[in-house]
Amino acid sequence: MSEQHDNDWLEDALHHDEPYIDDAGFSARVVAALPRRRGLRWARLLIINGAGIMGLLIAWYVAPLQGWLIESLTQLLRARSLADIPLVPVVLIVLCLWPLWGLLRTVIDWRSLLNDLIGRH
């Protein structure tokens, strides 16, 4: 019995409840030290992708290649084998789709947009 007590008293003592440590502003200090929020991410996406689309539209109206582009796109649509596919229109389509996909992502990320608009954390 005594030997049992010799072994158990420390075990019991070590299992003694750890006192709760009061927060006392600790959490607030941690939050204040966090890296800045990805604020206005939607605005960044909007500006970058909007500028991309604007650039493509301007290029479309300014460059004297409209006829050639239309012809290439028609060729692309009619292509029946890989060898028939013209490379330039494919590249242009990718260039056009990239900012469109970016804009779509901005809309999908509506939670971030809402949070920023109403200034909620």
Binding site: L14, H16, F26, R29
Partner: protein, 181 residues
């Protein structure tokens, strides 16, 4: 309704919600700070610095938390790493595996305040013994969980706990027949 750790983590990951992360800190700060206080031998200032570092590291690497272990266990792992880094920087000569810093004099045990006496006795242990005892008793981890946090074999944790308890039993003898308050 109180949000679970998983809910709060999801909010942080989806919306970069600092408020949700603050709630996570509030829920775990006491346990993490208590563990670090024990690991650092009762140095509250150092423990709080390491605790802050722990939560900042947790925030930065929250995406790597896979949910296979409890969030608290994952936090203890980060806390232990922060402590280990501190020890290596502050006392590079002090190896974790060796009992180089154990003083010759036993601690002064007053048998008045259990927490103070326990901290004094813990300071007498090697870092590895102290870590094993702290994680298994203060933090309430199982020995398997402690082995994962300490990244060492389970057998090593068991040996360190046995050795540590032998020493603590000697140092804290005045507490043997006292009731803890």
């Amino acid at each position: 309704m109180e949000l679970t750790d998983s809910d709060l983590i999801a909010r942080v990951l989806l919306n970069d919600d600092h408020h949700a992360f603050g709630e996570l800190v509030k829920q775990h700060q006491s346990a993490v700070r208590a563990t670090l206080r024990k690991l650092s031998g009762g140095d509250e200032v150092l423990a709080d610095e390491l605790a802050q570092e722990t939560f900042l590291r947790a925030y930065r690497s929250l995406r790597t938390f896979r949910g296979t272990a409890k969030f608290s266990t994952w936090l203890y792992r980060i806390a232990y790493n922060a402590f280990q880094t501190h020890v290596r920087r502050a006392r590079p000569h002090e190896l974790f595996e060796e009992d180089r810093h154990a003083p010759a004099q036993p601690p002064q045990i007053e048998a008045v305040d259990w927490q103070l006496d326990l901290e004094a006795a813990l300071r007498m242990l090697t870092v590895n013994e102290r870590s094993a005892i702290t994680l298994c008793y203060t933090s309430g981890l199982t020995q398997e969980e402690a082995a994962r946090v300490l990244q060492c074999p389970l057998g090593t944790v068991k040996t360190n706990i046995l050795t540590a308890k032998d020493k603590l039993r000697r140092y804290l003898l005045p507490w043997k027949d006292r009731r803890l308050t």
